[in-house]
């Protein structure tokens, strides 16, 4: 592993940030949500960036995770940590279920199929009232604070858990990217028949990426459930609020790079919170409108995302120093 100075400083800064913020305050909540979405975008990045399988239905996994741990807690009193693992397994299974029939589909068709799948999950959760509480949503029951119970008085532990989650997902992303699987995915992305002919089991590799991504996303759903304490199907399975948003974050930041989703999240989420705050209901939808415009702008003029701006800035700076 090459030692990189900048990321280490950044991680250190991020790690210290929660300590500086008011543990009951507003900004620590924003930070936690930002870290969570960064992790979700990074998990999406595994299929969207490395495998080039554009999924518009990742909310399916997120929602499965949120419901899995909460239902297990409600009905059997199982700790959310274990529930998270169960959710992860279910998420991985769901990824398999959707990936196997859609494996052969290319680009747009695949995106459509994932979109439909996300909606299927949302409708199922809305309708299966006996299990999920239906459209009314679920509340995570109050439990005396304790680490094992994933229950905390303050927000600070949630922020740290989200930070660790982001680091873990990013580590998984990087490990895949540098490993044999990463090479195979790059081959599959660039020329499928050639990849097959040189011995890559393209189906299996794509499925592996899908399962890893689905499982991680589902586990992040548990984090959300414990943080938000209440959620409903339309929120955790939402196309706009989850599926499109995490893909948007990864793309604006720089799809396919480790830093992209993090950059994207730290740009989008705080900006959104700020705009919603300043403008409130008078300008509902303005923040989304702005993001739509930014997305279009990025696609047209900087398709590799903000990360390229940083890379070229760095290049220009180092050229200046060399002079």
């Amino acid at each position: 592993m090459k030692f990189r100075f900048t990321p280490c400083i950044a991680i250190l800064a991020l790690a210290l940030l929660p300590l500086l913020l008011d543990p009951r305050g507003y900004w620590i909540r924003v930070l936690t949500i930002t870290l969570l979405f960064a992790a979700m975008a990074q998990a999406w990045n595994i299929v969207g960036g490395l495998a080039n399988q554009i999924s518009l239905g990742h909310a399916a996994f997120f929602g499965i995770g949120a419901y899995a741990s909460t239902v297990l807690l409600l009905k059997f009193g199982i700790s959310p940590w274990l529930g998270m693992l169960a959710g992860g397994a279910l998420g991985g299974l769901a990824a398999l279920v959707i990936a196997i029939p859609t494996m052969r589909l290319q680009g747009h068709y695949f995106a459509l199929a994932t979109l439909a799948f996300g909606e299927v999950m949302r409708v199922i959760e809305n309708v299966w009232t006996s299990l999920t509480g239906g459209p009314g949503g679920l509340s995570v029951p109050f439990v005396p604070p304790g680490f094992a119970a994933y229950s905390f008085k303050l927000l600070r532990p949630h922020a740290y858990i989200a930070l660790i989650a982001l680091l873990v997902v990013t580590a998984v992303f990087e490990m895949i990217r540098r490993s044999a699987m990463g090479y195979r995915l790059r081959g599959i992305r660039q020329n499928l028949p050639a990849a097959e002919v040189i011995g890559i089991d393209t189906t299996r590799v794509k499925l592996q990426a899908a399962v890893i991504s689905g499982a991680l996303t589902a586990m992040l759903g548990t984090l959300y459930a414990q943080l938000a304490v209440f959620f409903d199907p339309d929120t955790v399975f939402g196309i706009a609020g989850i599926s499109i948003r995490i893909a948007l974050i990864a793309i604006i930041g720089g799809v396919g790079t480790a830093v992209g989703p993090i950059l994207g999240a730290f740009f989008i989420i705080p900006l959104e919170e700020l705009m919603n705050d300043l403008l409130s209901s008078r300008a509902a939808g303005l923040s989304q409108l702005v993001f739509g415009i930014i997305l279009i702008a990025v696609i047209l003029w900087q398709p590799r995302g903000f990360v390229t701006v940083f890379v070229s800035l760095k290049a220009r700076l180092s050229r200046r120093e060399a002079r």
């Binding site: 090479y183 660039q190 097959e196 040189i198 011995g199 393209t202």
Partner: protein
């Protein structure tokens, strides 16, 4: 003692019979040329052998193993792979990464990298290992593709027009390389339009026309075959006879 056994291979695309009862066998370490006019089915034959296309009828056996219904990656694992006529490199990856990816079939990343560098050495492109594959010239890309196929350690290697767009010196080099590969134990099937090259390096030649195997035999015999001459009316026929 055959390493590749092809029986009655047939395939239809819509209204066109692209392959028609093609039957032949190849002995280990043979260099077999596959020639025929454009559209004769040569590339389709290669694609069918490696499993990219399913034949309607017929069978392919590699080293005694029946390849029926196997996907290309399994065929590669058993020991047969091909290069693509229009070169199918990973244009956004480095030359080394292109070849390395093929090495992953049998090795881990570090070993695969070593093997990849060896294969690049073999084709004489080690210096450009770090360059982006899409930045190379067409002949260079063809050689990278050859190196990549080599890196899967194949028993049977199918080369689809590796000598297209080469000048005389480059062609001689490739011909040398093909011979040395055979010396190392690889069996090769070579599709080519350069008659002189084919005549020079091949032990045997298969002639395809309209999906059928028109003739088969040593270069001399094939050059004298009246059916082949008729299919190839013109200067190439003259080249065949020389």
């Amino acid at each position: 003692m055959t390493i590749l056994e092809v029986r009655s291979l047939s395939r239809r695309f819509g209204g066109l019979q692209v392959l028609s009862e093609v039957t032949f066998s190849v002995r280990p370490r043979e260099i077999v040329g596959v020639i025929g006019p454009n559209g004769a089915g040569k590339t389709t034959l290669f694609s069918t052998l490696v499993g990219l296309i399913r034949p309607d009828t017929g069978s392919v056996a590699l080293d005694g193993r029946d390849l029926a219904g196997l996907k290309p990656h399994k065929v590669a694992a058993i020991g047969m792979t091909k290069t693509f006529q229009n070169v199918a490199l990973f244009a956004e990856s480095s030359v080394l990464d292109n070849v390395l990816t093929a090495g992953l079939l049998r090795h881990d990343v570090d070993r695969a990298r070593e093997q990849a560098l060896n294969c690049l050495d073999r084709v004489g492109l080690r210096e450009v290992a770090g360059k982006l594959a899409g930045d190379l010239s067409f002949p260079e890309r063809a050689r990278v593709e050859l190196a990549r196929a080599l890196c899967t350690a194949p028993k049977v290697l199918l080369l689809d027009e590796v000598m297209a767009a080469l000048n005389h010196a480059e062609m001689t080099e490739i011909m040398q390389l093909i011979r040395s590969l055979r010396d190392d134990g690889v069996t090769l099937l070579v599709v080519e339009h350069h008659m002189r090259a084919i005549m020079n390096i091949c032990d045997r030649i298969l002639v395809l026309n309209f999906g059928r195997l028109l003739a088969e035999g040593t270069p001399d015999r094939v050059a004298r075959d009246p059916q082949v001459i008729e299919a190839y009316l013109g200067r190439s026929a003259e080249a065949l006879r020389r």
